[in-house]
Amino acid sequence: MDSGYIIGTIVNVIVVLAVFSALAGFTTYIERKVLAFMQRRLGPMNVGPYGILQVAADGIKLFTKEDFIPQNAVKPIFMIAPIITAATAFIALTAIPFLPEFEIMGHTVRPIIADINVGLLFVLGAMAIGMYGPLLAGMSSGNKWSLLGGARTAIQLLSFEVVTGLSILAPLMLVGSLSLIDINNYQNGGITDWLIWCQPVSFILFLIAGFAETNRTPFDLLEHEAEVVAGFATEYSGMRWGMFFIGEYANLFAISFMASLIFLGGFNDLWFIPGAIAIILKVAFFIFFFLWTRAAWPHVRPDQLMWLCWKVLMPLAVVNIVLTGLVIMI
């Protein structure tokens, strides 16, 4: 292992951390703007031109707010929980290839921190560990709303983990590799090679499970304001709450990148569009879609969520896998 590799990896890590922290902030701005437009409002307008500095204002507010720990909270766990969410979200990003390889000043840059041959499994596993963040936060806060939020975390994320895994299994059987780069290269023959055309069901299942795992509407039961105040985050303030927030948005990007890579051809060139721009466009579409559904769709009840997961989505995923297996055999 030469020193160039280590330096390159460290630079990669810093760039990914910086870019996605900034993107998380910027996505809150986009989210507020898009939601406002869909409700025929203007959204943030007063801080900077078109309110674009609202992100900075929010950041300053989060950093300078009192770091409050309730009296009856289990202090060490209460303090560690947000770090788990943020850290696992960023760890999950390590195995995702964001862009195609490119050259800068004679060096070939691979925009992936760790190209491991079980990349997809690693990403899913790291994101699943992220469940401990809300769960521990809810259980350690000493607040009944937090506890309810934590309980909902356990049922929601744990159940939809199953659907995510099963929905991805079918395309994996076609590709025969767990590396996201291999999956991407499998679809390099233009738009007709995209896996969404031969696996539409698993694409939809993956997207639904992605909504549930990133805790987005219509499955944002963890911090459903109308029912459990702010769920697991009720007692959090300041930067600890901000870490939950950043982790959630980093997860959003991870799911968007995975959906683009696995089903929509990843960073392969698309007609005249170069691959780097193609994947950014795809991810941007998914992010917009996440915001769009938040404006359009209502929440579901927890029991409906469980019903949907175990009685509809999981059987569908299994049937999909069996059919895919039969087709491959024949």
């Binding site: 437009f37 409700q39 025929r40 409002r41 203007l42 404006a295 359009a296 769709w297």
Partner: protein, 207 residues
């Protein structure tokens, strides 16, 4: 819709549009078919379409509802009862108020105070006129009762201040002498109607 339709209170006779609500599913199989039909009918996409069109309309067709309040203000209704104004005579610039005290008497919140004295020609002169806007309930009786159209309601509705004393200044209400030309006859609460002249009847002498 006609007025008669609105006045008809007999439920069931109106031209209501009834929403078709199907029976709730009772068995598991019915629930399953409901889910299938709802998934295939793409009702979810209709919601997406509506919000997207709302966004398109807001961004490109000027259907944005936001009023940027301190910069833009919505017009208020002509009969809106905002902070009072004391008008002056257009010819001489003197106070219109004759110090009759009717507004002071009629005020239900007891917030109007008039000090008068007789001047050297033995005419009543208004020394001080104050409305405690902190107490005022903006009922409009004072404007209605004023025989000289001297006290009227203006169009200032942003009445916030740091001190209560700011709510009672006469100089604030009275039209300043340099803005006399801009004083307009008030057509809002308590103003005489357009056909007031035709409604005047001669007082019979034989009272």
């Amino acid at each position: 819709m006609e007025l008669n339709d609105l006045q008809n209170r007999n439920v069931g006779e109106q031209n209501y549009k009834l929403v078709d609500i199907p029976q709730y599913p009772t068995t598991g199989w019915e629930e399953f078919t409901q889910v299938i039909s709802r998934s295939i009918k793409t009702e979810l996409l209709t919601g997406l379409k509506i919000t997207f069109n709302a966004m398109k309309g807001a961004l490109f067709n000027n259907e944005m509802h936001t009023v940027k309040y301190p910069q833009e203000k919505l017009p208020i209704a002509p009969r809106y009862r905002a902070i009072h104004k004391l008008l002056v005579l257009l010819e001489s610039g003197n106070n219109r108020c004759i110090g009759c005290g009717l507004c002071e008497k009629i005020c239900p919140a007891n917030c109007i105070k008039i000090d008068t004295k007789l001047d050297k020609d033995s005419r009543k002169e208004v020394v001080d006129y104050s409305i405690n806007l902190g107490r005022c309930i903006f009922c409009g009786y004072c404007a209605e009762v004023c025989p000289e159209l001297a006290i009227v309601h203006g169009n200032r509705y942003e009445n916030a201040s740091e001190q209560r004393a700011h709510f009672v200044l006469k100089d604030d209400l009275l039209t300043p002498i340099d803005l006399l030309k801009q004083q307009k006859e008030y057509d809002g609460f308590g103003a005489i109607s357009d056909d007031a002249d035709s409604k005047i009847k001669k007082t019979p002498l034989a009272y």
